[in-house]
């Protein structure tokens, strides 16, 4: 039973990082293309475009935090 719980916790940690990684990539793809499109016409938008492009990175940080909590808080309790 404990083995199954370990597998679930570890898998959950992996999924939280993987899914948020994909989500951030998808969001950055769109925001990045949009930013490049806007910058092509208005160069002065470079700063704003750059900031907006990196905002989806926060999604990965959430995923990473969840994974760390699972691995370092939840997992020791299961073991």
């Amino acid at each position: 039973m404990a083995e199954l719980a370990v597998i679930v916790v570890v898998l959950s940690a992996a999924i939280s990082v993987a899914v948020t990684g994909f989500a951030a990539a998808w969001a950055e793809k769109h925001i990045g293309s949009a930013a490049v499109g806007a910058m092509t016409e208005k160069e002065e938008l470079f700063g704003k475009g750059l900031v907006l492009t990196v905002i989806p990175e926060t999604i990965v940080i959430f995923g990473l935090t969840v994974a760390l909590v699972l691995l370092f808080v939840v997992l020791p309790q299961v073991l």
């Binding site: 769109h30 293309s33 949009a34 208005k42 938008l45």
Partner: protein
Amino acid sequence: MDSNVTFSNYILEETNYSYLNTRVRAMESKVFKKDTYMKLLNMEVSQIARYIGEYEYKEEIDSLSREYRGIDLIERALNQNLANTYNKILEMGGKKAATFAFAVLKRWDIHNIISILRGKFAEVSPKEIEKTLIPIGELSFNYILSLGNLSTYQEVIQKLKKLKEFSFLDESKEIADIESELYINYYKNILEKFHKNKKSVFVNFIKMEIDITNLRNVMRMRRYGFTIEEEQKNVIDGGLYFDLEKLGKLLRHSNTEFLNEIKKTPYGQIIEPYVSEITLFNVEEELEKFLMGCAKKQFKGGHLTIIPVLHYIISKKIEVENIRKISRGKASNLESKIIEQSLVI
């Protein structure tokens, strides 16, 4: 940039709407606003040329100013800028955007062909005809120019007939009938092409355009008389509010019935104030303004669709038409108030 537009000239990759729409929105932010038109209304033709030459029309004004002056310079620069802008959209648009953009741009082929036919009919020189042509459309501009160099309009049609899409033309017909056929065929093809998207705003816009073309023809026929044959030639099937049967009734209604019927549609409020006017000039212009206004309102939202591109195409067309109206009005010494009324703002 080569202004000869054909499908094969472009590397048509998949459409990246995020990139396309944001770029198009950035381009749209440079379209002239109401206060700019008010400034232009207080300028002379040469000042208008100088003013627009400081903004988005700089490239065209600079390159054409050695050859042309005054109203000719503005007209040429506007046409060239419109062509360059539409070409730019096609280049960056990708497959899906190009399908819609070409459907809209195809009308410039019709515009150019009709200008050539009218010019040939009135025996105007190729040089003069060329001034009215706009280097946009699906046909290559060199081909359009070669049509302008032919001697008669019958020869133009004979050459056009060799193309599959214009094989329906008949040089023995009158020029007015040929014009109607060109428009009827254009709308028929476009509705067939987008028959799967019956409820899309783009198809709605095209249908509204058909309605307005039909209403214009119906009002002309009501005023100047018509035969059954003329009725068939001048009405287009596929409108948003009026099908062929309704149009037939509109033609034969009394003035009151006609107005009551029209009032059931959004066109009623546009047509009503002008019903008793002697000429149809004002009502036709108001209908055109209404159509452009509706298009701008309809083509909103849809961030990951073609809608923002269509909105920009319409906005750019309105801008060019407004500048054209102002400069022509100024060249003909029209009062600013009259010019202002004709603008779509």
